[in-house]
Subunit: 157 residues, 2 copies
DNA sequence: CGCTATGTTCAGTACATACTGAATATTATG
DNA sequence: CATAATATTCAGTATGTACTGAACATAGCG
């Protein structure tokens, strides 16, 4: 437990890099997200998080808002406490990915508009149609995504 | 044809914004990509593209390399010409999306490593497992993606 | 009503990115 | 090989982003 901390922090670094690279999340927000995915207890205060990853509290304020807006993190207050507690729900990533795919569908509309502009020449609309079809497929595929982990779901108190 | 140009450029702006926002592509590269998706003829030189979207040739050099590396654009040379011609293939977006999902699968490995670190406590591994499952599902879903536009494919000379 | 612990906002700084003009390389042609 | 056209690289600038310390706000508690 005591020596684990170092390995956990190493893991947090890796995961954070992934989040920043693939999800356009700033470095510190990436660390926060990664930390909240593996920390114990799952719900932690801004102070705890800041100390764990070595960031200022000011950064935490902005990072937490970003992560909450993005759908990764939820904030909870306990009765008779001013401290806010943050956590990533089990369905956080599914929610975020779904939201992202939904946003991608906007490109489907753009390509559709482009095809109208390009006219009826199939040589000219081919590129647009192919792109359109990809995003159309994605949208439908994710609509039929089987909500994973619906069974032995382990939510603790 | 002559008045279309303006509407086309407007469309290019929209599509470019999407590319920059959702695919982390710099503004000019986004315009290049959008332009190459609707321009006629489909294959154009750097000079033509630069003039169309109003960018310097220096920017074109870097933008083209970026787009080629990302898999969006292909470069071709014609015999007895020093000019390079660029185009987006019909399967460009499918290729890029596939590549991106493949990259996302790396996170599956990270979450797997995280679960080992977190031990066997299901209360602690729940978040990691849920994330893992999402990316696992994505990987498999895209593996079985039916290459769209496999039939009346219209590739011109 | 102070007091204290937590949360948020703001100005400033450090760093990174995007883009361009000018200089340099490269390649077909006469 | 000289010439002209395209391509690439580089230094410089301008803009934007991430982060922090410090100041300010807020909420529970004696």
């Amino acid at each position: 437990m005591t020596d684990d901390r170092e390995r956990v922090l190493e893991w947090v670094e890796q995961a954070a890099v992934f989040c920043t690279d693939e999800y356009a999340v700033p470095p510190i927000a990436g660390r926060v997200l990664a930390w909240l995915m593996i920390c114990e207890p799952a719900e932690q205060s801004a102070g705890q998080i800041a100390e764990a990853i070595g960031a200022s509290r000011a950064s935490l304020a902005t990072s937490m808002r970003l992560l909450i807006d993005a759908g990764f993190v939820r904030r909870r207050t306990r009765p008779g406490q001013k401290t806010h507690y943050y956590r990533v729900d089990d369905d956080a990533w599914e929610r975020v990915v779904r939201r992202r795919v939904a946003g991608l569908a906007a490109f489907r509309e753009i390509t559709a508009a482009g095809m109208q502009l390009a006219g009826s020449d199939p040589a000219r609309t081919g590129r647009l149609r192919a792109a359109h079809d990809v995003f159309d497929w994605m949208d439908k595929a994710f609509a039929s995504m089987p909500g994973p982990r619906r069974e032995g779901d382990t939510d603790e108190a």
